[in-house]
Each structure stands twice: as C-alpha cells, then as structure tokens.
C-alpha cells in the first residue's frame, strides 16, 4: 500500500464521513431538545428518499421540485411522529421512548418494503460519474458534492441556533424545566426539532441515494449516524461534523489496509471499535457536554 493510495482513501473517507455527519446531525437535533436517541433516523432517511422518488416518478415532478416537496412532506411527518408517537410518552422511562423509536424504525422499513418492494431504484441528481483527479488523487464527485452540502447545512444550523427560535431550542436543550417555567413551549420546541431532523434526513436520503440508489439498505446508515453522533457528542452539531470526518478517514485507511487481509468487513469493525471505545473512555464524546456520563 503506497502513500498516494492511503491519501486517496483518507481524502474520500473524509468526504464520506461528512455525509455520515448529515445523518448524525438529525440524531443530534432530536437529542439536544429532548434527550431522545432516535433509532429511527436511518429509516427516516430511507423514507425521505422514497418520498422524493414518489414525487419525481409518480407525480412526474422534476427532481429538484420533488426534493423540495419531499422536504415539506418530511417536515410534516417529523411533526406528526413527535405529536402522535413521542409526546404521549413524556415522563415515561427512557427505555420506553427508545423502544418506541426502534418500533418506528422497524415500521418504516417494513412499510416501505410493503409499499415499494425491495428493488433498488436510482436517484439521478445529474452528478457526473467521470473521474475527477486532484493531483494524483481520484476524488468521488458524488461524495464531494455531499460533503459541500453537509458543510452548508452545518452553516445553516450555526445561523439557526443564533436566531430567536434557535435560542428557544438551546434553552430547552440546557434545561427544559427552566424553559417551561419561563413560558417556553417545550412541546413545540421538541416537535420542531423532530421536523428539522426529518428535513435533514431528506437531504441525507437524497445524497446517499444518488450514491447507492433507493432501497431499504439506506436505513442501515443509522449505525454510521449513531457512531458519529456518539463520537462527536450527542448534543453537538459541530462535534457531529468533525467526528464524521474522523470516522470517515479512519474507515477509509483501515479498509484500504485491512480489507485485502480480513475481507470486506473492516469498516464495520472500525465503527464498532469507535463506538465502544468512545462510550468506555469518553462517554460525552469529543465535544459533548460533560453531563452525558456513565453513572
């Protein structure tokens, strides 16, 4: 394995990692407002991709219009999930809420299989597949595009959390009881975080679908999203961004070196190792608040 190969794996890994970050951001958004680790984020990403295709193929909308319509639809679905499934569990043990999100995950995956079947469908964003060389390094254009969109989304969230509504969400995140006592509608804030998370899932779904097509395997992005979110700190959007890059680079280099020796599963091994080590050594992640600790 030469140095250029390693650099190329690291560069593409960083870009892939930024796309993982997008899934992780959805998890972080919900966790920040309600301390709920959403295990349905991968399935929401998958569902969003199917919704885009439904608008594009069934309704005949151009792809960019279909994405816009899907963003609106998923925003409403996010609100609905919080209102129908999560709000009534307020005050219940966290394990019940966790199981609810797991139930949602299974429901969305099985439901999509029933409605759309298991055949993979393409999503063409018009990104060229032609080789793109930066010096000696071959860069994947789809990943590069995804990375740029992820950074733009991060910029949006930085701005958003400085807005009035963003400050409200931060207040809920800091101390929802105190937020409640000063008249902030915590329910509305939490609902908004679910809706925003669903919107992020739509963008992640579109980007990942342009790489791998639309099928139920999109739901497996949950593992990447959770690993990145835990590594970065479950309540840190910036942490999710940097942890994504870190995970992607380590995965890329590890798979280049280890795959020929161990088979194709080294990425999953890296994910598992990162997740376990983070929880053992630094439970609040790289940039999370210290109150997320082992007891």
């Amino acid at each position: 394995m030469d140095a250029i190969s390693l650099m190329e794996s690291a560069a593409n890994g960083a870009l892939i990692g930024l796309m993982y970050s997008l899934v992780a951001m959805g998890i972080v958004l919900i966790y920040k407002s309600s301390s709920v680790p959403n295990l349905a984020q991968g399935s929401m990403t998958m569902l969003a991709a199917y919704v885009v295709l439904a608008f594009a193929n069934s309704a005949g909308a151009p792809i960019w219009a279909a994405i816009s319509l899907a963003i609106i639809t998923m925003f409403i679905i996010g609100l609905a999930i919080e209102r129908v499934a999560l709000r009534r569990l307020a005050g219940r043990p966290i394990i019940m809420i966790l199981m609810m999100t797991l139930g949602l995950e299974i429901f969305l995956r099985a439901g999509s299989m029933t409605i759309w079947g298991g055949t993979t469908r393409p999503m063409n964003l018009g990104i060229s597949d032609a080789p793109l060389f930066l010096g000696p390094l071959l860069i994947n254009r789809a990943y590069a595009f995804g990375a740029v969109v992820t950074i733009a989304m991060f910029g949006f969230f930085v701005m958003f959390f400085r807005s009035r509504m963003g400050v409200v969400l931060r207040a809920i995140s800091d101390d929802y009881t105190a937020a409640w006592s000063v008249g902030i509608s915590v329910e509305r804030g939490v609902a908004l975080s679910w809706a925003m998370s669903a919107v992020v899932a739509t963008i992640a779904g579109v980007l990942w679908s342009s790489v791998q097509g639309v099928d139920q395997s999109l739901a497996q992005l949950l593992l990447k999203g959770v690993t990145v979110a835990v590594l970065g700190g479950l309540d840190s959007i910036g942490g999710a961004l940097l942890a994504g890059v870190l995970l992607g680079v380590v995965e890329g280099i590890a798979s280049s070196v280890l795959d020929p020796l161990l088979g194709g599963a080294s990425r999953d091994l890296v994910d598992a190792a990162m997740l376990i080590l983070t929880i053992l050594i630094r439970p609040h992640g790289l940039f999370g608040r210290h109150d997320i600790e082992r007891v």
Binding site: I16, G118, P131, R141, V211, G213, A265
Partner: protein, 415 residues
C-alpha cells in the same frame, strides 16, 4: 351470532381449501423469501412458476394431473423455512424449493432424512450436484463453482488459449454467496497460471469505494464479479469514476434488465454476464405464455416482469421441475412418490425447454445437469451471446465437488 358467523366462515374456508388439495394434483412448495433479501428476484420467479403451471394446466396438467403451487414467505430465515417445509410435508407435498442459500442449507438435512425432493437451482451448497451423496437434492443448472469456471474458460478463449500472465480480479460481496467461488478460482489460478486478486467489499454492498481504488491500482485484465442486483449498478458507477472499462466486467447471473436500466443502457455497453438461461421475451415459451395468459388478462403478475431475465430463470427452474415430474408419472405411473420423482428428474436428457436453457442431462451421479452457461454481452439494446453453452474445467469443478461432498458424507456417517 358473531361466533356462528366466524364458525361458518371457517367451515366455508375449509370447504374451499379441500378441492385445492385434491388428491390427483401434483403439489410443489415454493417456500420463498418474499419480504427480505431475495425480493429482487423471488417475485419474478414465483410469477413465472405460476404462469407456466397455468399454461400446462390449461393443456391438461402433467399427464392429466393438475399442477398446484403453494407459495409461502420464509423471509430468508432458516427457521421459517424449516417451518414451511415441515408444515407442507405433513400436507403431503413432496417437492420443495427454498430459493435461498441459508434456508436451503438449513432444510437440506431434513430433506435427506425424509427422502423428499429439494429443487435448489442457483442457490444452496454447490457440492449437492453430487447425486451419489445428495440423492434427494437437485441443484439443476450451474453451481457458482461451475459458473466461475466457465467465466475463466471464456477469459482463456479471449486470451488466445492461455491464461499465463493474465490478471483476474475477483470482486465479491464478503458473505457466503460471494465467497463461494474462491476455492475453485484459486485452484484454477494455480493450474492455469493466471494472477488472481481477491477484492472483497462489505455488506450491504453499497460501499465499494475502496475496493475499486484497489482494482484501479491492480489494473486487472478482467474483473469477475459475484454481486447481486444493485451492487452491479454501484460497481458500474465506481468503474466509471475510476476510469476502468466496463468491458472487463463479467457478472454472475444475478444481473437483470432493471439493473441495466439503472446503470444506463448506453453506459452498460460491453458489460458481460454469465447465464444459464436465454433472456428476453422473444423466447418461444415466453411468447406462448404472453399469448395464452397475458393477452387474455390471465397472467399472474405484472406483464413487464415477463421481460426480466429472472422471469426466464423462474421458467427455467419450473420447466425442468415440471418436466421431471411429467416423466416420473409417464414412466412409473400414479400415485407419485419422491422416489418416482427422483427417477423422473434423473431421466432428463438434453432437455432445453424449447431453447430457453442450456441443454441439461441429469443422471444419478450428476444432479446439476451438466452445469453449462454462456457469456453474454450487453450491446446497448440487447444481450448478445459471446460463447456457446460451455462447461469448462469440469474435472477441476468435480474434484472440488467430490472433496466437499465426501466431507458431508463423512460427517453424516459419524452422526
């Protein structure tokens, strides 16, 4: 009152079921994965089986006996496959098809013990072609070992009859399906002197980036791919990104028209696949089904599936199974027994389902029927055969078969 209605409904349901299970029908159990990993292929195969059964039933069935297909979902879960087998076995079914490697493997010991028939074309353990050991298992068609050997035979033909100095990358999904041909490829590499590079990629098959970086740096002459469905689509895009010609790519049989559409018919030009069935709806058998069923709105599914090579694969599997049973009834008479069906299947000689498949001859020794495939190339609009039906390196394939079936036989005698 409500209870009475339910009881009446149940009675009616039972009454309706009884005629379907009529004693003079030939029953086949299709315990399929209709909800998980194999859904890219199982609906088309089940549809083809139903269509062909309807067509034959309209002509009087198998030597006067109607065909009855029982289709149930096992979700690719071995335990559910075993449940399906046990339940239908109790109902008197003698011929089973699991269309799943893990489920076929799980059911096989029970089949062997009970002496029923397991049709396991294109799935399951490759050494089951050894009819001396696996008396009740019929993996008719090519095994993955045979397919891989045939791919190497094609490469040898294209390389002027020698493989010395040829570089072959084996690109595979890293789980049992993808790993299956590694043994035979290593044997052939050693024997024929070509350089074999193993390039695995992980499940679920979407992340191929680093595998293709490796292949670009290896710069192989040929890429033999053991991938399923959409994995080929992703591979085609990675090949383009890496500047690798798609003409080097030889896919296993699990690549269909939907995949070609997703790759792009023009982009896919030059791509190759190994196959044991002739694709397209212009095959005489498909034409007859379209005329007799779909033109009369009697088809068992979406008409567009009849253009899919997996539909033809289903027709191939069931034309063989039905013909074997027909021969059994003709030779040994009614009522059927598993032994009679076995003899019927072992009587198939140069059977090609009216040009749909490579001619197969099943014997008591060879339950694979010869393992012939051919290499086809996509020319932008259709598949063009690049070879005749071939079965290369049979000695080497059978040597691996015998070695592994002997292990199975030994483990069974030690129980």
């Amino acid at each position: 009152m409500k209870l009475l209605s339910i009881l009446a409904g149940l009675a009616l349901a039972l009454f309706n079921v009884m005629p379907a299970a009529a004693a003079d029908s030939v029953r086949f159990a299709l315990c399929y994965d209709l909800s998980k990993a194999y859904t890219f292929v199982s609906p088309q195969i089940a549809q083809a089986a139903r269509d062909y059964a309807d067509l034959l039933n309209a002509k009087g069935g198998l030597e006067g006996h109607p065909i009855e297909l029982i289709v149930q979902d096992h979700g690719n879960e071995p335990q559910r496959g075993i449940e399906c087998y046990e339940r239908l076995k109790r109902e008197g079914v003698m011929v089973f098809d699991m269309l799943s490697t893990p489920v076929s493997r799980a059911v096989l010991p029970r089949i062997m013990k009970d002496g029923n028939i397991l049709i396991q074309s294109l799935v399951g353990r490759g050494d089951a072609v050894d009819g001396n050991v696996f008396k009740w298992v019929f993996p008719i068609g090519p095994t993955y070992w045979g397919q891989a050997a045939n791919d190497i035979e094609y490469i040898k033909q294209k390389s002027g009859g020698t493989l010395k100095g040829v570089k072959v990358a084996f690109f595979y999904i890293d789980y049992p399906f993808g790993q299956e041909p590694i043994g035979i490829l290593k044997t052939l590499a050693q024997k024929e002197g070509f350089e074999l590079q193993l390039v695995p990629y992980p499940l679920p098959g979407n992340d191929q980036a680093s595998a293709w970086t490796q292949i670009r740096r290896l710069n192989p002459d040929w890429i033999v791919s053991w991938s399923l469905s959409n994995m080929h689509v992703i591979a085609s895009r990675e090949m383009k990104r890496n500047g690798i010609s798609i003409e080097k790519y030889i896919a296993v049989n699990w690549l269909n028209e939907v995949d070609i559409k997703n790759i792009g018919p023009d982009v896919a030009k030059g791509l190759k696949r190994g196959t044991n069935v002739a694709g397209g709806s212009n095959q005489p058998l498909v034409q007859e089904i379209l005329k007799e069923l779909y033109d009369k709105n009697k088809g068992n599914g979406d008409r567009k599936f009849t253009e899919d090579v997996y539909y033809n694969t289903g027709l191939a599997i069931y034309s063989i199974a039905f013909e074997g049973v027909r021969l059994a009834i003709k030779k040994d008479g009614w009522p059927l027994t598993p032994g009679k069906i076995k003899n019927g299947l072992e009587s198939l000689k140069n059977y090609d389902a009216n040009g749909l498949i490579a001619p197969i001859t099943v014997t008591t020794q060879d339950h694979g029927g010869g393992g012939k495939t051919r290499i086809e190339m996509w020319d932008g609009g259709k598949w063009v055969p690049q070879t005749d039906w071939i079965a290369g390196f049979q000695d080497d394939v059978w040597s691996v078969v015998k070695e592994q079936s002997a292990d199975y036989a030994k483990s069974e005698t030690q129980k």
